[in-house]
């Protein structure tokens, strides 16, 4: 095989010439101009060997992309990194007074009261920790839907396609509103698992903002979710008689609220 060094003046190869290896790479990496790509396309139609080389190189590129794709951060790590990105608040006198351990010096609490306080604190801490973990997990799920390569398992703007798709996949049912708020579109849905429990993830856009709505059974894992804001994302948690509904987005909270209200009303 005689690779031919490409020259800008003659992008079209003859049938008895073959692609230079770096030209082949540039072709599969989308680095060539349209004229150069067309020249190579024409050559590939006539040269079986180069067509085979391009096919093998493309397959290897796809396999590399897949294998190297993600070492995903843990939910906790992603939450910490996301928190680091929150817009910086201007420095000034803190409104919250720091807790001074010495302040307790003036109180001689009986040992029993201390133990009781510790127990209560631990319970509250565990509850908060669980809520924080869930918040991080839902935020992580939402961020995953924002990545360019992510496509939902069911892609449809039709609620009559999206809802039936979940039949037999989740142990509960839910409705999707017939009429959505202005400039709001249903894009599709995913079946996901939150702490091992199945949940429906409905994907909407409001203007250009992506919205993830998680639907689980009311008594499910999301029961401890509070409405909150995390890293610039509004997390709105509500419930119906049977369902727990949590929405995550960076859209205007009022518009997120309208969509959540529409979903709740549809149940």
């Amino acid at each position: 095989m005689t690779p031919t060094t490409p020259t800008p003046d003659s992008p079209t190869l003859h049938a008895d010439e073959h692609l230079y290896v770096e030209e082949l790479n540039a072709f599969i990496d989308g680095e060539l101009s349209p004229a150069e790509s067309n020249g190579i396309q024409q050559h590939l139609e006539a040269c079986h060997l180069c067509a085979l080389r391009v096919l093998c190189a493309t397959q290897l590129k796809a396999a590399t992309a897949h294998a190297g794709e993600r070492f995903a951060p843990s939910h906790e790590a992603l939450a910490r990194l996301t928190a680091q990105l929150a817009p910086q608040v201007p420095q000034g006198p803190s409104r919250v007074r720091p807790l001074r351990p010495n302040a307790f010096r003036w109180f001689a609490w009986p040992a029993l009261a201390t133990a009781l306080l510790l127990a209560v604190s631990l319970t509250v801490w565990q509850h908060m920790r669980q809520a924080n973990t869930l918040t991080a997990e839902l935020l992580d799920q939402h961020l995953a839907t924002l990545s360019s390569g992510a496509s939902p398992q069911v892609i449809s703007t039709d609620r009559h396609t999206v809802k039936p798709w979940f039949q037999g996949r989740i142990p509960f049912s839910f409705n999707i509103p017939e009429t959505l708020p202005p400039d709001t579109t249903l894009n599709g849905a995913d079946l996901i698992y939150i702490e091992g429990q199945p949940a429906a993830l409905l994907l909407f856009t409001i203007h250009a903002h992506e919205v993830s709505i998680f639907v689980t059974q009311r008594a499910g894992v999301l029961n401890a979710m509070p409405s909150t804001t995390r890293a610039g994302f509004a997390i709105r948690s509500t419930r119906t008689r049977d369902l727990r509904i949590v929405a995550v987005s960076n859209v205007n909270p009022a518009e997120l609220e309208r969509l959540v209200a529409a979903v709740v009303q549809a149940q």
């Binding site: 770096e22 080389r53 190297g68 995903a72 951060p73 990194l81 990105l85 817009p87 961020l143 610039g232």
Partner: protein
């Protein structure tokens, strides 16, 4: 960057890149704790230097360059740069392409674990350029900016990386036959 809320703009640009930054940091450092530290350091440095980022240029390339520099100044990065590496001189290296052989059709490119093993065995600088090209889908000019090398060097490294990966997969295949 002209804006009344530069940190909000920064957040908007950086947030979608967190998984990519972390993944790349892990490939560089091979350690989860260190990967998180690297990304934290990157975000911190990038935010401080955000004024120097030029709107219209590739933010991903800009922040990946900061990540790479953070890695190179880390303990693991300093140790890694001690490794002797062949110069990017195509004349000294066998980068000749070969015609596909019948054996190539047996390569298990759909076996993610096999490809991942081959990626792990690949020389670190070659793996890095391949990840930036194939996984992060960056253009050659952006990869050149991140690695601080000429585009020609990027092209020759990509050629060698793919050839090396292919050879490693062939080696794995022969071991299983």
């Amino acid at each position: 960057m002209p804006s009344s809320h530069p940190s909000a703009n920064f957040e908007q640009l950086a947030l979608p890149l967190l998984p990519s930054l972390y993944s790349h940091a892990f490939w560089l450092s091979r350690n989860h704790a260190e990967a998180e530290d690297l990304v934290q350091e990157t975000l911190s440095k990038a935010l401080r230097a955000f004024d120097s980022f030029q709107t219209g240029t590739n933010f991903k390339a800009w922040i990946f360059r900061i990540l790479r520099n953070a890695f190179l100044t880390s303990r693991t990065g300093i140790a890694a740069t001690r490794t002797v590496y062949l110069e990017d001189n195509p004349d000294l290296l066998d980068i000749a392409d070969a015609s596909p052989t019948p054996e190539d059709h047996l390569l298990r490119l759909d076996d993610e674990a096999a490809v991942q093993r081959a990626l792990e065995q690949l020389n670190a600088p070659l793996r890095e350029v391949l990840l930036l090209c194939d996984v992060e889908e960056l253009k050659y000019k952006d990869i050149a900016l991140i690695l601080e090398v000429p585009i020609g060097t990027v092209m020759s490294r990509i050629s060698r990386a793919r050839r090396g990966l292919h050879q490693l997969l062939q080696l794995q295949l022969r071991e299983t036959l």
